[in-house]
Structure formats: C-alpha cells, structure tokens
C-alpha cells in the first residue's frame, strides 16, 4: 500500500529524514518509536504532505503511484489520514459541518455526488455509537476548548467518518490518561479491517498494550535503525533508547 524508498527530507535547510525505507501492506499495523527529535512527527507530516518539508531524495509510493508531488488534500482524497498530535482549533465551525465539508470535498474530488443528508446523518449516528460518543459533541466547534482526551477522540471520530485506507496516528497517546487512552485505542481497533493499514507513532510502549502492532520500527536520527515485532517495543520500554544508541555507535 505505502512504500517509502530512501526518503530524505529537510525543513529550512535542516535535514531531518536521512534515508527512510518502509513498506506497509493492507491489514497491517506498524508502530514507529524513537526518542524526541528522531524525526517521527516529521515522517508523519511528510507522508501527509505538509508544505514546510522538502523531499530532497527518494520517493513515496501509495498504491504504486508516487505521491511526492500531490498536495495534502489530494493525498487525503486518495485515502491518507493523519491524526494530529496537536489537533487544531477552528472556532465557530462545528464538527458536523467540518466533517460534512471534508466528506463532500473528497467525494467531489473522486467524481462522486455529495452525500445525501439522510445518509450523512445515518453515518454520523453509526460512528458515534460505535465510538461511544455523545451526539451533542458534534455541535461543538472543532477542538475549541476541548480537553486532551476530547481532541484525540475527535480525531478518531473523523477517521471513522472518512474511512481512510492508511491512517497515521501521530502521538495519539500524548496527553491522555489511561481511561482516555483505552477509549481511543479501542476505537482504532474497531476501525481495523483487512483492507486498511495503520501507522502508530509513539514514544511509549503503553499504547501498544492496547493497539497490538504487527511490526515495530525504531527511528533514530532520521533513519529506521531497528525493526522487529511487538517484543521490540517491550524491550525498548525496559532498556530505554540509550540501548539502541549504544548499539548503533558500536
């Protein structure tokens, strides 16, 4: 589904990604771990198409087509979704209005008709009950005055509504207490199918107790330095990142 070959990217002349190779297939969950500043969030932003980053070498293929030249919205239309580490506030715009616009813009880009209102309503209800969200929540302005947990839950709700092929969850666990973490993780698990894929970016192993990854990658200084299964995450938790650093330096 997503194939990244020798990807280098920089922001304002500072090289952050220094040769990433990664392949993600349908039905898989990948976890990307690593210390602060290793380039995890940059990788997520580069895949999503944030303009601040410049790709200097390598390429990204999504369903066998290069996405390097596509705008962020074009990538979204193709089914790439990113859950933000710090979801953005848009005062006065309700979640319903926002998600309706997002769905219809995506349908328009795909040459489809707008979703009829009754169908939209049905989908909203369905996803709300699936993620155990009170429908009053939908009338609130996007992320405006939301708690950390509400923000992340809103991200997962949008993911549920947009039904992306590839979801990248950037530090979804940051700022969440254990109960909120469980709710968010259970949402992600419910949305899992054989045809979509998820990338979980995290500092800590604890999220991976609830979202079980097929692969774990360790990102360090802009490169994936180690890959393994879920046991790698447990080992990291025990030994810390210094262990990896030492291994690389030797």
């Amino acid at each position: 589904m997503l194939k990244i070959n020798n990807l280098h990217a920089k922001v304002e002349d500072k090289e952050i990604l220094k040769g990433i190779d990664l392949e993600i297939k349908a039905g898989e969950i990948h976890a990307i771990m690593g210390p602060n500043g290793s380039g995890k969030s940059t990788l997520a932003s580069v895949i999503a198409g944030k303009e601040d980053y410049e790709i200097t070498k390598g390429e990204m293929l999504f369903k066998n087509n290069s996405i390097d030249e596509l705008s962020a919205e074009e990538r979204a239309h193709k089914g790439i979704f990113m859950s933000f580490q710090y979801p953005i506030e848009i005062p006065g715009v309700t979640i319903t209005n926002f998600i309706k616009t997002a769905i219809n813009e995506t349908r328009k880009a795909r040459g489809e008709k707008e979703m009829p209102a009754n169908q939209m309503l049905k989908l909203l209800r369905e996803k709300c009950s699936m993620l155990e969200i009170d429908r009053k929540f939908l009338s609130r302005s996007i992320n405006d005055g939301f708690s950390g947990g509400e923000k992340k839950r809103n991200e997962i709700f949008q993911m549920a509504m947009l039904e992306p092929t590839l979801s990248i969850l950037d530090e979804t666990d940051s700022g969440l207490d254990i109960d909120a973490l469980k709710v968010v993780a259970s949402g992600v698990n419910k949305l899992k199918t054989k045809t979509n894929a998820t990338v979980v970016i995290t500092h800590y192993q604890r999220l991976l107790d609830y979202i079980i990854p097929d692969y774990v990658h360790v990102l360090f200084d802009g490169k994936i330095v180690k890959s393994g299964n879920k046991n790698l995450a447990i080992e990291l938790e025990k030994k810390g990142y210094d262990w990896i650093k030492e291994e690389i330096n030797n």
């Binding site: 303009e51 962020a72 074009e74 979704f81 953005i88 848009i90 926002f98 997002a102």
Partner: protein, 482 residues
C-alpha cells in the same frame, strides 16, 4: 506538494475585479456641480417640497458651512471637494412606474446583473422593495398589502408630501442637523430615501427591503431614511447596497434615524457592498454614514451589518436607550481587503434604568487594509442597573493589514455592569493544513474559517440576507469560492 500557497491566494484576491463593476447608461437629470443656497433651493424645488422643508434644508446648510470635516477617525483619504460634486441626479425618464413593463430595460438589466431582479424579488415570499437608483425611488411594491395594515412604506419625498406631520415631528429628532459634518450636509441636500411607519401594535408581516445604488459618475448620494415603530409594533428592515465600478471617488453620506416608541422593536439589517476601489487603492466609495436609533420604554433596536465594500467607511450605528428597560444591540462584520479602510463601531447611550446593550463586532482584514472598531458605551448618572456586554474580535489574513480596537467606556452610575472582551487572531497555516489533510482545499478552508468566525453575526441576519452576506464574504475574500 501543493502549489497553492497563501501568497497565491493573496495575489488572486488582489487581481479579482469588483464583481458588480458595471455602469448603467440611463439618461439622468443632473444639477450643475457645486453647493450653495441656490442648489439647496433647487433640490427642494425639483422634489416639489413644501416651504417648511426648504427652510429646514437651508438651515442645515447654514450649519454645515460653519462646520469642519472631522479628522479623528483612523482613516486616511483625500478630502472630497464639495464644490465639485453634483448634488442631484435622478433618472430623467419617467420617474414613477405602475408596472415593470414601463421601467427602462437598462435599469432592469442592472438589477439582473445584481441578481436582484424586481420580478424575482416580487415573487420571493415576503420581501417588499423600495428600489432607489441614484436618488429617486423608481419602483415600490407590496404597497397594498402594507396599506391594509396601516403601514406606510414609501420614499421620503412622498412622505414629506403625504405625511408632513410625522416628518415634521421626527426628522432630525434622533440625528439633529448639527450632529456632525456629514449629517448636516445630508440634511441640506438629501436626495431621497425611505420612510417607514408601523402603527400601534402592528407586527409588520414581511421584511421591508431597500436596495440602494450609486449610478451617476461624480454624483454624491445622500440618502435619508426614517423608520418609526409606534407603541408595541415590530418591523424588520433590510438595506443592501452595491455600486458600479467608477474611477473617481464617490461620496456617500447617508442619515438613518430609527424611532422605537414604548414596547416597539426595530431590527435593522444592512449588507453594504459599495465599490471598494481597485487592488491599487484607486477609486472606491467614501461612505460616511450617521445611523442612530432612539428607544423609548421597553423598546428594542438591533443593528446588524455586514460591511464588505467602500474605500473608506465611517459608520457607527448607535442606540440611545432613553426609556427604562430598553435594549440596544449591535452585530457587525466588517471586511477590508487591498487598500480599504474601515472605522466602524457603535455607541450605546444608556439613559434609562435597567437598560441593556450588546455589542458583537467581527473585523476581518486582508491585503493592506486597515480595520478599526470604535465604540462608546456611556452609562449616565441616572441610569440604574444598566448592563453592557461587548465583544470585539479581529481576524487577520496575511501580514500587511491592520486591526485596531478603540473601545470607550464612560460609566457615571455605580450600579452599572460593563464587560468588554477582545481577541485578535490570524488564519494560521496550521489551521489550513488541518483542513487540507481532511481533503478540504485552501480556498474552501478559508471560507470555512471565516464563516466560523462570523457565525455569531450571520445568525442574526434574516435568512434571505444571511445567504447573500455569506456570498459577499466569500467574494470579498476568497476569489472564486462560491
């Protein structure tokens, strides 16, 4: 990666031509340029006014001559030469029509371009129109329906002839001739405008609507509007403007007076889209308006305005809360782009006990424009338990524009409660990226953010106006987003 940046958007906005920039070629009957007593008399004579009205105008002219153009507003412009303006212009073909067939086809075409064809408007449920082109009313509809309820809705010239008692009693009672420079000028030379009287206890069954339009090159427009809501009555009044694209600056100095007697309510909504000038700041309308309402006991006046046009705007729709328990509201969205300058706000004068006022002002600045909110909340010594809540929010697009807030609060009574909140924000790249990531392109994202920002005010507009206002916001700021 996306090629469409905020800079591209800004460029697109600058090159976007004024949508309604066209000029209708109708024969006009225009007075020679310049202003003196003879001109004032000539205007009054052309309109067939009684002598008391001529005297009233001449008195205003005398006052105006002694006054100086104010300079305190946060706007910079070349002062108009008042001797180079023609003070009267009316379509010279038949000024009055019984049916649309008699109306100049060019005029009808103008309405069509504006998307306000009278024909359509007539059919649209509940909108009566008194259409003003330059200075004289050319079509008044729905009169019969209103007549049955005893509602008077006509041009001010007709009212001067047919309802002299009401005019004598109320004209200049809220905005006196000597109130300010432009009000004095308007009082001397006002060309036409609307008059509305709602009798005791009558709820006006439809939104009353007037479309103004400046049409003759070099003609100043001096509208005079007077709305009287008698005891216990209700009226919602809509005013919308759009001017054709002209090179020289056009002066617009209107006066609007509202009188809400005991237990009456007046809702006055404006969508203003005068020609703002081109992307280099050339041309555009100077809009110096005095709007004020007087509330008697338990009365309520609410002003709602969406201001997207004019090169220079100077406008403070105000409420004098004279009666006990009276309520004043001001809801405003002011958009400035390119070189536009707006200095707008309100005055809430609390005189009665338990008077309440609410001010919600939303300023959106783009390009190199300057957008100022200027407001006064005055609580007099004898106004017990007065309350005010003000909220002034500014939104900036790009980094060459300015937003300014000048709130003045004068409280002379200790029981008053006055609250003021203000915020300034910028449309952030992060917000746009967030929308992009969800499949919403940059133009649509900006429309969404602007609408969210303006929602509190848009919600106050009557339905048919809210849609138009939303459209105007998008036209003014987002290029092709429709």
């Amino acid at each position: 990666m996306s090629k469409y940046t905020e800079d591209d958007l800004k460029k697109e906005l600058e090159t976007k031509e004024y949508e309604y920039g066209f000029y209708t070629d109708i024969k006009s009957d225009t007075l020679p340029i310049g202003l003196n007593e003879e001109i004032v008399k000539a205007i009054s004579k052309k309109k067939g006014e009684p002598s008391w009205m001529t005297e009233w105008r001449l008195d205003a002219f005398k006052i105006w001559k002694k006054m100086e153009e104010p300079e305190w507003a946060n706007v910079k412009y070349k002062k108009p030469d008042f001797q180079k303006i023609s003070y009267y212009s009316a379509p010279s073909n038949k000024p009055k029509y019984n049916s649309l067939d008699e109306v100049d086809p060019e005029l009808l075409a103008t309405f069509k371009k504006l998307g306000i064809s009278i024909d359509e408007q007539k059919k649209l449920a509940g909108v009566a129109m008194d259409v003003v082109i330059d200075s004289v009313s050319v079509a008044t509809t729905f009169k019969d329906t209103l007549n049955k309820k005893g509602i008077i809705f006509c041009s001010i010239s007709e009212a001067i002839k047919n309802h002299p008692d009401l005019i004598k009693k109320y004209i200049g009672s809220v905005v006196p001739k000597k109130d300010n420079f432009y009000a004095a000028l308007n009082s001397a030379v006002f060309s036409d405008g609307s008059f509305c009287y709602i009798p005791k206890g009558v709820k006006c069954p439809m939104e009353l609507s007037t479309y103004f339009r400046i049409n003759e090159a070099g003609t100043g427009q001096f509208e005079r509007t007077l709305v009287i809501a008698d005891k216990g009555s209700y009226v919602s009044y809509l005013e919308g403007c759009s001017a054709p694209s002209r090179d020289e600056n056009q002066l617009h100095a209107a006066v609007v007076e509202l009188i809400a007697l005991d237990d009456a309510e007046i809702k006055y909504s404006t969508v203003q889209n005068w020609y703002p000038g081109d992307s280099k700041g050339k041309g555009g309308v100077f809009n110096f308006v005095t709007k004020r309402g007087l509330c008697e006991k338990n009365a309520k006046i609410s002003w709602t305005q969406v201001e997207t046009g004019s090169a220079v705007t100077w406008k403070y729709p105000s409420c004098i809360l004279k009666g006990d328990n009276s309520v004043g509201e001001f809801h405003s969205i002011a958009v400035t782009n390119n070189f536009q300058q707006a200095d707008t706000g309100t005055k809430m004068i609390h005189l009665g006990d338990n008077t309440r006022s609410t001010i919600i002002s939303k300023g959106i600045s783009a390009g190199k424009s300057q957008n100022s909110y200027r407001g006064l909340v005055h609580i007099s010594a004898r106004a017990n338990n007065a309350r005010n809540f003000s909220q002034c929010d500014s939104l900036l697009i790009g980094n060459k524009c300015g937003a300014h807030t000048f709130p003045y609060i004068e409280t002379k009574n200790k029981s008053a409660q006055v609250e003021h909140e203000a915020t300034t924000s910028k449309i952030g790249e992060d917000q746009i990226f967030y929308c992009n990531q969800r499949g919403i392109d940059t133009e649509k994202a900006i429309a969404l953010i602007i609408n969210g920002f303006s929602k509190d005010v848009l919600n106050k507009l009557p339905m048919e106006f809210a849609v138009e206002a939303q459209k105007l916001l998008e036209i003014s700021l987002e290029g092709s987003v429709g």
